[in-house]
Structure formats: structure tokens, C-alpha cells
């Protein structure tokens, strides 16, 4: 936590929104439409978050990347109509001077002073980064999520990347992650990633989904109420069929192979608690796009002391009420940080949060019902796509768990056996989570492994607290007081 140089600056906004993905955009525009003065703080170069991506040269209001035609864009981006509507609203609110949109501003800390909140953001829009305070009476946090990962032998080889990373390369840069690609892991997100790569001309060797296909049929009530989501999945399946991409269910990724780069992966037939012996199959590939669900980014809500819970998918998420209000008065959370549920749910939660933050809560019960329906679908999907049982048994002693500090499972095991029975104790003794990413990648795995090996409860919150939410240099901090008092001279 930074030391405040003095009293906080005078409040500049009624509502500060952090994150301009679906939830944050919906929240900012809903608050703006109700007359609130809004500050929208976002790390991206353009609004849209990880979901609506576009090359950085696209201007506010223009989502067409160079050289990509409208049809190709539409195939990769869902809900573009929603995006254009929200951008249009945002542009008008920015134009009217009631909303400030701060792009390339990475929120790295948040503080509460009485009834106001100050978000500290690193402004990376200029040649020299600097940290700026953004103050308001209420806070809507919409930080989103990133791919959840678990370690497996070979996962540090170049050519292995996250499903979201492959999607970002394609949607944001027009680049296919590789030429011969295996898409594996679990969850509905694997399908759009594979469909996008196939459409872009990559040879998609196969989609290997660890769960049982149609396992969600057991939760048919929730599924039937979300027929449009099924239609979306069907569209991807059609694309994959057209490109003759095999989609295998109960096929679990167990290892990646290669010396200095990925050459092949092994998949095996999944059982309830492991794999069928002898079912292993080796697939040659230069790229693996892998993901096992998502991990919400909880740094900012945790910094403020917001109450959390463990969701159906095992993720640590914020507890929110009917208005998306957290346990800390004045702090609202929308989108994946209160339960991973996808962009449509995030839009609804954002709209409800923005309205409540503006002091004019949503009265339309349909919106609240829609949220309930979408959340039940998300829960059904979580139950149908668990991280496959047995992954902890496949982690060999020399499998790297913490990629930053190069901590192997063997080293972690030693520390657990010596008494470090939770993720925090393990971090202090064996260093998983101590490196550049601060446990964002290995936090889930470390919490699972320490729990499995020691028989102690699974406590992901012990690997989730990070007082500094984005990397910031000492040089930037040193000049902070100067900038924050309004002096914008270059350091």
C-alpha cells in the first residue's frame, strides 16, 4: 500500500469504474446515463477489455482493424451490436464532459478515505509513465479474468500458450498463434478459440475437452433457459466441422513434449479420477492453446477488504448483493470478479452496478431475472467443466509449478512435507508466487497442491492478495507526490 503524501485530492467523480470490458463499459454508461460524473479507468488502448478486441490503432468508435473485412470481424466477435451501442453512449458522455475515459491507465492500488475512494493508476499513454490518482464517491470494479492454468509436464515450452493468449493474438493482432495447433483443457471457451484459428487458416489438429460432452444436459433447466448460448456453441461447432477439426470430449491433455520448443502433446482418455492406462495418444503440433476455465482478478477488491467466497468453479470471487454491492459500502463489483459467467452476464451485472452506483438502482425486474438465468447457466457450465480430477497426480517431481521462480513440484512437495501446508507458507519457504507474476499463474495450482498433499482445506485466498495490483517502478513512485499534487512536469 502506498503512503499517502497528504490529504486526498478533492473528489472528481461520483463514480469511478475500473475496467472497460463488457461489465465496466455497461457500468460506466449506465451511471453516466443517470447523470453521474464518471471516470472510467482502463489498461487497454481502446475500450472492450479481453472480450472485444481490436488493434490498437482503432480509434474510439472504430472497431475495424486494418485489412480485416466486416464479415471476418463478425465471425470472431460476438455481441458487436452491444459493443457499438455502449461505445456510442460512452462517446456521447465523454463529449458532454460528464465522463472521463482514461485509457492505458493501469490501476495498481486503491485506497479508501472515509467516504471517498482513490484509484491509483499508472498512465502509460505518454512516453514517460506516471501514476495519477482518480477519486470518487463510489467505485465499480470490473477487473475481469484470465485463463486458469494447472501445471503439466512440458507446459513451459515455447509454443504452449493459453487459450486466451491465442485468442488475443488472433482478435487483437490478426495473427494465428501457430500453424499446427492443438486446443485443449476444459470449458466452452475452447470452441471459439479453435474456430477462430481454423477460420484464420491454422491446421487445428483437434479440440481436446477433458469433460464429458453434453454433461451440461444434467442441468437441462438452466441450459434450456439459455437457448441463445447453445446457438452460439452450435455456430462454433459448425465452423469446426466445416474445417474438419475433430472435437474430442473426455480427452484430457497430460503432457507437452519438445526440447527447446513444442513438438507434440499427449492426450489420454479421461476417467472420473484420472486417465485410462494405455489410452495415451501423441499428437504432433507446433502450438498448444490450453485453458481450464478462468481466474478472476481480485487484487483491487481484496485490497479494500471486500468479502469473498469460493464459487462453483473453485475460483475466489466477491460476494455481492442484488445491486452488485460488496461488503464494503460504496464498492460494487461486476463481471467475472463476482463469478465467471461470460460477457452477456457481465453486461447485465455492469448495467445494474452502474445504475446503483449512480444512486438510481435498476427497477426493471427483467434485468435482474436475466442475471439470475445467466448465472444459473454459468454454474451449470462450471459443474460440467471442472478442472479434471487427477491433474495433481500427473505433476511429476521436475514439473515446474511456478514459472517465474522456476519452482518444481518436487521442491514444493519438500516444503509441504516440512510443514508449509498452505499456499502462503509454501510461498515463503519455496518461493512459488514470489516472482514477476506474483502467483497469478501458479496461485490456483499451489493452493490445490498444498491442500492435496497436506490434507488441509483448499484456501485460494492465501495466494490471491497482492497489495500492488500492477507492476510499478520505484522511479514512477518517487515522482508520484509531485504529479498527484497537479504538477505534470516530466520527471
Amino acid at each position: 500500500m502506498p503512503t499517502s503524501p497528504s490529504e486526498p485530492a478533492a473528489p472528481t467523480a461520483d463514480v469511478v469504474v475500473v475496467g472497460a470490458g463488457p461489465a465496466g463499459l455497461a457500468a460506466a454508461t449506465a451511471a453516466g446515463a443517470r447523470g453521474a460524473r464518471v471516470a472510467l479507468v482502463d489498461a487497454g488502448t481502446a475500450p472492450g477489455g479481453q472480450y472485444w478486441r481490436h488493434p490498437a490503432t482503432a480509434r474510439l468508435g472504430s472497431v475495424d482493424p486494418p485489412g480485416v473485412d466486416e464479415d471476418a470481424l463478425a465471425r470472431l466477435h460476438h455481441g458487436l451490436k452491444d459493443y457499438r451501442r455502449l461505445l456510442d453512449l460512452l462517446e456521447r458522455q465523454v463529449g458532454a464532459g460528464t465522463t472521463r475515459y482514461l485509457s492505458q491507465h493501469h490501476a495498481w492500488a486503491v485506497e479508501q478515505y472515509g467516504e471517498t475512494f482513490t484509484v491509483h493508476a499508472i498512465d502509460r499513454s505518454g512516453p514517460t509513465e506516471r501514476t495519477v490518482p482518480v477519486t470518487g464517491h463510489r467505485l465499480v470494479l470490473a477487473p475481469g479474468a484470465y485463463d486458469r492454468q494447472v501445471p503439466f509436464p512440458g507446459w513451459t515450452l515455447p509454443g504452449v500458450l493459453t487459450a486466451g493468449g491465442a485468442q488475443a493474438l488472433l482478435k487483437g493482432n490478426g495473427v494465428a498463434a501457430g500453424s499446427r495447433v492443438v486446443v485443449a483443457g476444459t470449458g466452452p471457451f475452447l470452441l471459439p478459440v479453435a474456430a477462430g484459428l481454423a477460420t484464420a487458416g491454422a491446421d487445428v489438429v483437434g479440440v481436446h475437452e477433458a469433460s464429458m460432452a453434453r454433461a451440461w444436459l444434467r442441468h437441462s433447466g438452466a441450459v434450456l433457459r439459455n437457448a441463445n448460448k447453445l446457438g452460439e456453441g452450435l455456430g462454433y461447432a459448425t465452423t469446426l466441422a466445416r474445417h474438419r477439426v475433430p472435437v474430442r470430449s473426455r480427452s484430457v491433455l497430460v503432457a507437452a513434449h519438445g526440447t527447446d520448443r513444442l513438438e507434440a502433446v499427449t492426450v489420454a482418455r479421461a476417467t472420473a479420477d484420472g486417465t485410462v492406462p494405455g489410452s495415451e495418444q501423441r499428437l504432433d503440433c507446433d502450438t498448444l492453446a490450453v485453458g481450464w476455465g478462468f481466474t478472476p482478478q481480485l487484487e483491487l477488491p481484496l485490497e479494500l477488504g471486500c468479502e469473498t467466497r469460493i464459487d462453483t468453479d473453485g475460483s475466489l470471487v466477491c460476494v455481492v448483493d442484488d445491486d452488485q454491492q460488496t461488503s464494503v459500502p460504496g464498492v460494487l463489483v461486476a463481471g467475472e470478479a463476482c463469478g465467471v459467467g461470460g460477457a452477456v452476464l457481465a453486461l447485465v451485472e455492469g448495467a445494474i452496478a452502474g445504475a446503483a452506483a449512480a444512486g438510481v438502482p435498476v427497477t426493471d425486474v427483467r434485468l435482474r431475472r436475466q442475471r439470475t438465468t445467466l448465472a444459473s447457466f454459468a454454474a451449470a457450465m462450471h459443474r460440467a467443466h471442472p478442472v479434471p480430477a487427477g491433474w495433481t497426480d500427473r505433476v511429476t517431481g521436475d514439473t515446474v509449478v511456478c514459472r517465474c521462480e522456476e519452482v518444481t513440484a518436487g521442491r514444493l512437495r519438500q516444503s509441504v512435507d516440512a510443514g508449509a501446508t498452505d499456499a502462503r507458507a509454501a510461498k515463503l519457504t519455496a518461493r512459488p508466487g514470489m516472482g514477476w507474476c506474483q502467483g497469478r499463474v501458479c496461485g490456483y495450482a499451489t493452493a490445490c497442491l498444498t491442500s492435496a498433499w497436506s490434507g488441509t482445506p483448499y484456501r485460494p485466498e492465501l495466494a490471491a492478495t497482492r497489495p500492488v495490483a500492477a507492476p510499478v517502478t520505484f522511479g514512477t513512485l518517487v515522482v508520484r507526490g509531485q504529479h498527484e499534487s497537479g504538477d505534470r512536469a516530466d520527471p
Binding site: G159, A168, G174
Partner: protein, 92 residues
Amino acid sequence: MSAPTTITFDGHEIPFLPGQTVGAALTAAGIRSWRTTRVEGRPRGLFCGIGVCFDCLIVADDRPNQRACLLLAQNGMRLASQEGTGRAHLTV
């Protein structure tokens, strides 16, 4: 469509399109790793692709530890493989 522009990576010219990140331009050129780790000296490149994991660190215009997945390519930018912390020049 804008004309491709170029960056250099360890002295080799690599084309890119405006709006592309350094990581995307290198991937499009078939380059998969540009860093070796501090302890084991193992090769690494893009992993999370969205700024979370810090595996894709690269030296850009003499500044080490830049995330290739976030850094936008600029015409004439000089990129170099990063070894370890990228701060060997500070060793005394």
C-alpha cells in the same frame, strides 16, 4: 491496408502491421522464444498473451523486462533476446 513497417529482433528485420504488439509480430515471423530464464536458462516466449504472466519479457530499445504481449511495435524499434534478469550490464 497499411503498408507493413519493420522492427529488428537480434539484428533481423521483422515486418509488422500498425496496432500489432511486438509479441504478435515475432509470432507471425515464426519466432517462438526470446528470453532465457534466470535459473535454468530455459527458453520462454508468449504464454498468457495478455500481460499477466511476464513470461514474454524482451529487451526493447535497450530497456529490459518489457512485456512483448503488451508492447506495441513501432517502426524502427530494436528488440533483443533477454537473458535472465536482463540486467547483466549492471553486474560489477
